[in-house]
């Protein structure tokens, strides 16, 4: 993503060009949605939160510092919003709320047999379930890394921490995710959960 394109769009919007904000919305809508979906685990909630995020961005754009990347700033707003939502009303949810198909088939999978298609769908839903089992801060790091394809440096920028701290958080998150994923899939190996943060995945009582 070219940052100068975003800066130009922001500048146009601040001069009163509403179409510029529309262009930013179209460009980043899915990225923001993916972050939020990965953190809150519900499509409907992710859609609502996406609109919230863009509303917040719309109002806050005059405060946007042109030196920062717009995308980084946007992702930070989205991640913060998602974390707040996940830590708020959904505290006791440890399963994702999949009210409609959350994952589509990739083009290469269209020719697969139904059993293989089912397996892939189950695996993707397992990914989402395991994400919901992870602490929110781990979810945040994993979503930025895997759903947004950000580098560790970019993740650090979004999270507002040092690169070393981002690396440690991501490392821990991947380990915890791996342990839970393996355990959920029923393979040999020990499940593990980082109990330093328990705000997201308490068992239902």
């Amino acid at each position: 993503m070219r940052t100068d394109d975003d800066s130009a769009l922001v500048a146009r919007f601040l001069r009163g060009d509403g179409a510029a904000f529309d262009a930013l919305f179209v460009k980043y809508q899915d990225y923001v949605y993916n972050i939020l979906f990965g953190i809150v685990g519900s499509q409907e909630e992710a859609r609502d939160l996406t609109q919230d995020v863009f509303l917040q961005v719309y109002r806050s754009l005059p405060k946007f510092r042109y030196g920062a990347r717009f995308a980084t700033w946007l992702y930070r707003v989205a991640a913060n919003r998602g974390v707040d939502a996940a830590r708020g009303s959904r505290k006791w949810r440890f399963l994702p709320i999949l009210d409609e198909p959350a994952f589509a088939l990739l083009p290469a999978e269209n020719d697969l047999q139904p059993e293989a298609v089912f397996e892939r769908k189950m695996e993707r839903e397992t990914v989402l379930r395991v994400l919901m089992l992870c602490p929110v801060s781990h979810r945040e790091a994993l979503v930025l890394r895997y759903f947004q394809d950000l580098t560790v440096e970019e993740i650090a920028e979004v999270l507002g921490c040092s690169v070393a701290a981002a690396k440690v958080r991501l490392h821990r998150a991947r380990k915890v995710f791996k342990d839970n994923f393996v355990a959920l899939q029923g393979n040999a190996g020990h499940g593990n959960r980082d109990t330093e943060e328990t705000d997201a995945a308490e068992p239902v009582r």
Partner: protein
């Protein structure tokens, strides 16, 4: 299954007791990410050749990487969220618009009036510290600002030049009116009265006017809320600032209960011809007067005007003479 799953979560370590495994396991992710130097990488690879547990661990990491990547690529698009976004944006604008209008319109009106009055109404101190005007009739702007059903006195200077005795009798009348109201009122009115009473102290402390002190004569104290007499807001100056709060409704005759006046002053002394001025603001139907604590230089508080109104509730301040003690009086803070 879930119980076992959660039981497993409580295990914090996967140590095997093999020191080489314990050394290599933390390196698996950096190995996967190609972050190891060549020596370290070879050491890990040499260990993986002989250790199936570590190979399994690495394979698990690789599977997770793949699963996460594919899941990310396969997330169903939410569709076009713009219609919902713009609808919410419009909704939030509509919510803010009435407040903006309510805030802006009186401010604009007051500003226009203040400018006119400042140019046309000159106040000069008198020996008794009362304001005198040099016009025999209210400026047209003030007259026009008043609701049509409120009669205008032909001689507002009479009010501003009232003697202390007149003020005392007016205060006494106000007190009597209030008592009558208190005795007469229906339950809702009493509740409202109680509400006003409970806010008196706060309001009176807040409603401290600007003090313009043309040296060396006197302070000019202007009530934040008008003292009403025959529908005209008046100002009286007292050497010492004491103010009290009474129920404005007691000042307003029954046929004028649609409005009250708010009075403020311009704080800057400009020249001999302009020793401050007064701004009269019509409050069409106003209650729950909220006065900013810090707004000492109060012109015409828009947040007062913007608050929701209940037609039968007013609040006002009565400016007391030095010798007059009211039920509740507040010492104005010292003026510069």
């Amino acid at each position: 299954m879930l119980r076992n799953l959660f039981a497993n979560y409580r295990q914090r370590s996967t140590r095997t007791g093999n020191s080489e495994c314990d050394r290599v396991r933390p390196q698996l992710l950096p190995y996967l990410d190609h972050e190891l130097g060549s020596d370290e990488r070879h050491r890990v690879e040499d260990h993986l050749v002989v250790c199936s547990a570590c190979r399994t661990e690495l394979a698990a990491f690789e599977r997770v990487e793949a699963a996460l990547g594919v899941a990310a690529a396969a997330i169903e698009s939410p569709g076009d969220l713009r219609p919902g976004f713009y609808a919410r944006l419009e909704q939030s604008r509509r919510k803010q618009a009435p407040i903006r209008w309510a805030l802006a319109a009186p401010a604009v009106a007051c500003l226009a009036l203040a400018l006119f009055v400042a140019n046309h109404l000159t106040v000069e101190p008198g020996h008794d510290g009362r304001l005198r005007t040099d016009s025999t009739s209210p400026p047209a702007a003030i007259t026009n600002a008043m609701p049509p059903h409120l009669p205008v006195s032909d001689s507002p200077s009479d009010l501003v030049t009232s003697k202390p005795a007149d003020l005392k009798s007016a205060a006494s009348e106000i007190s009597n009116n209030r008592k009558q109201l208190a005795a007469s009122g229906s339950t809702p009115r009493r509740r409202v009265q109680a509400d006003i009473l409970s806010r008196r102290n706060r309001v009176s402390r807040q409603a401290v006017a600007i003090a313009e002190r043309p040296q060396p004569e006197r302070k000019l104290i202007v009530a934040k809320r008008a003292r009403l007499s025959d529908g005209i807001a008046s100002v009286s100056a007292a050497p010492r600032a004491t103010m009290s709060v009474i129920d404005a409704e007691s000042l307003v005759p029954a046929d004028r209960r649609g409005a009250s006046y708010l009075e403020a002053e311009t704080s800057q002394s400009r020249s001999a011809g302009h020793r401050g001025g007064v701004v009269l603001t019509s409050l069409a139907a106003e209650t729950d007067l909220h006065v900013s604590d810090e707004d000492r230089n109060f012109m015409a508080s828009t947040h007062i005007l913007a608050t929701a109104a209940r037609r039968d509730i007013r609040d006002t301040l009565r400016i007391d003479d030095d010798n007059e003690r009211s039920e509740e009086s507040v010492e104005l803070p010292a003026l510069p």
